[in-house]
Symmetry: C2
DNA sequence: AAGTGGTCTAGACCACTTT
DNA sequence: AAGTGGTCTAGACCACTTT
C-alpha cells in the first residue's frame, strides 16, 4: 500500500510529525502515556520505519516525547506553555512562539556604520536596513530587538517588513530562502536605554541573543540583536548522546 | 565489501564520526573546505549512505560542518575554542569541555531537605548526596556547582565522586546508565555567597543552569545546579529547520 | 520469550546547485 | 547535463527492557 499524504512538496516525515503533534495537542496521547510502537505507526501511515523515526526525532527535539529502547515512546511535554519565554532550538516551536505577541516599532533606517559579524556566522551583505522594535506579551515588554535586514530582501516588501514580524514575512516570500539559522546567547546587564524600554532597572540582568540567518550563498541576510529581560528567559536543551 | 571497524559495541556511525572529527582536527579538511561527497565516504568506509549521514549529523550538531543540498558539505567550525565558556548541547563536546579545568571541593553532605524537581525532568531518588564545588580554569573560578547525586550511585565509588569530575566517573561505572540528559538555563544575579565564591560583585549577572540526568527508569540520578559567571557564558545553537 | 526502539544495508529517486 | 545532499523503501538484525 502507498501512503495517503497528498502534499508532495513537504517531506513525508514532516507531514507525519505534524499529524502526531496535532494528536498530542488534542490529547489523544496525554503526558506520560505511551505512543503506539513504531511498527503500528508504520502500518497506520503506510510509511517506512525510517520515515516514522525521522518524524519522532522532530518531536523529540522539541521536547514533546522521549524514546527509550526496549521500553517505548512516551509523551513528556505539553503544547501549552507556562509564563516563561522559551528560547527555541527548533524552527517549528520558534515560529509558534510569535503567535499572540505584540511588537512596537521604535526606529527604521538604513545602516551606515560598520557591522561586526563573526566569520563563522556568515558573510556580510552589501547593505542593511535596520529595524528596531520592542516585543511584548500582554502589557509587558520582554525584548528589545534590533534587526539588520539585507536591503535586497527589505526592498521586496518594505511595508510588510515594517508592520509584521520579520521572519514570517521572510518565510512567505518565495525569493528568500533561509538555509541556515544560528544563534548565540550571552548574559549581560541592561544599559540605560534598554532598561527604559524593557521597564527594568539599569544593570538588571539580561539575555543577549544574536540570531543570524543565512541564505544559500552564506550571506547573512538577517542579523538580529535581541535583548531579553533576564527574569523572563529560559532555555531548555536536550543533550544529545 | 564489509567495513573495517572493529569495535562492535559503539555504533558504526559514531566510529565514522570520530574518524572524521579527527581528520578535521588534524587539518586534513580545513575551515571553509569541502568534505568528500557522500558516495566517496560511503565507499572509503564501506558503509551505507544512512550511516555516513548519521555520522555527518553528529558533526553538524556540534557546529563543525554545514551541509547544503546540491552544493556539498563544508567545514565551518574548528576544534580549538576561544576564551568563552561554551555551554553544550551535544554530549561529546560537553565531555571535552571538562579537560584542562580544575575544581575545588566546598562541601559534601547527605541531603536532608526537600528537593524541587519539575515533573517532566524526572522522578526523585530516595536519597541524595550533595556535593558542592567551585570550578575554574587557570586561576579564575567560573562556576559555583551543587550536585545532588543519587545516594545509590554515590556509594559505588564515594572517594572518586569526591575527588573527580562527577559525570566522567558516572560514565566509567558500568552499573550507571544515563539515558536522558536535559538542562535548563535561566538568568539571574549573584547572591552574597555565590558572588564571593566566583569573585564577582553581588548582583552581578549570572547564568543558572539546572542539569538533570536520568537513568532508564526515569529517576533523576544527577541534579546539578550550576551558577556561571555571566561574563563567561556563551551558548551557541543551531536552529534545526 | 516477547516487546520495543536503534542500527544498518542496498538501492531508487528527488530537489537543488553548479557546470 | 552533471554533481551533490535529502528523502524514502523494504527488510534484516541488534540491544535493551519487560513479561
Amino acid at each position: 500500500m502507498h501512503h495517503a499524504f497528498k502534499d508532495r512538496h513537504t517531506p513525508l516525515y514532516t507531514q507525519v510529525a505534524i499529524l502526531l503533534r496535532q494528536r498530542i495537542k488534542k490529547g489523544v496521547w496525554k503526558r506520560g502515556e505511551q505512543l503506539p510502537v513504531i511498527e503500528t505507526l508504520m502500518s497506520e501511515f503506510a510509511v517506512a520505519r525510517t520515515t516514522v523515526r525521522q518524524a519522532l526525532t522532530l518531536l523529540e527535539d522539541e521536547g514533546l516525547i522521549q524514546r527509550s529502547r526496549g521500553r517505548g515512546t512516551f509523551v513528556t511535554g505539553s503544547l501549552d506553555e507556562p509564563g516563561w519565554l522559551t528560547l527555541d532550538t527548533s524552527w517549528t516551536t520558534f515560529l509558534r512562539t510569535l503567535e499572540g505577541n505584540w511588537s512596537k516599532l521604535v526606529e527604521v533606517r538604513d545602516e551606515v556604520g560598520h557591522l561586526d559579524l563573526a566569520a563563522d556566522l556568515g558573510k556580510l551583505a552589501p547593505g542593511y536596513r535596520l529595524i528596531s522594535r520592542i516585543h511584548g506579551s500582554d502589557d509587558k515588554p520582554y525584548a528589545d530587538v534590533s534587526i539588520h535586514l539585507d536591503r535586497r530582501c527589505y526592498k521586496l516588501a518594505p511595508e510588510r517588513f515594517e508592520a509584521e514580524f520579520i521572519i514570517p514575512v521572510m518565510e512567505s516570500l518565495p525569493e528568500i530562502k533561509i538555509t541556515s539559522a544560528k544563534q548565540v546567547l550571552t548574559i549581560g546587564t541592561a544599559d540605560f536605554e534598554t532598561a527604559e524600554r524593557l521597564e527594568i532597572p539599569v544593570n538588571a540582568p539580561v539575555g543577549m541573543l544574536r540570531r543570524v540567518l543565512c541564505d544559500d550563498s552564506g550571506t547573512a541576510i538577517y542579523i538580529g540583536d535581541i535583548t531579553y529581560r533576564g527574569d523572563l528567559v529560559r532555555l531548555e536543551m536536550n543533550i544529545n548522546r
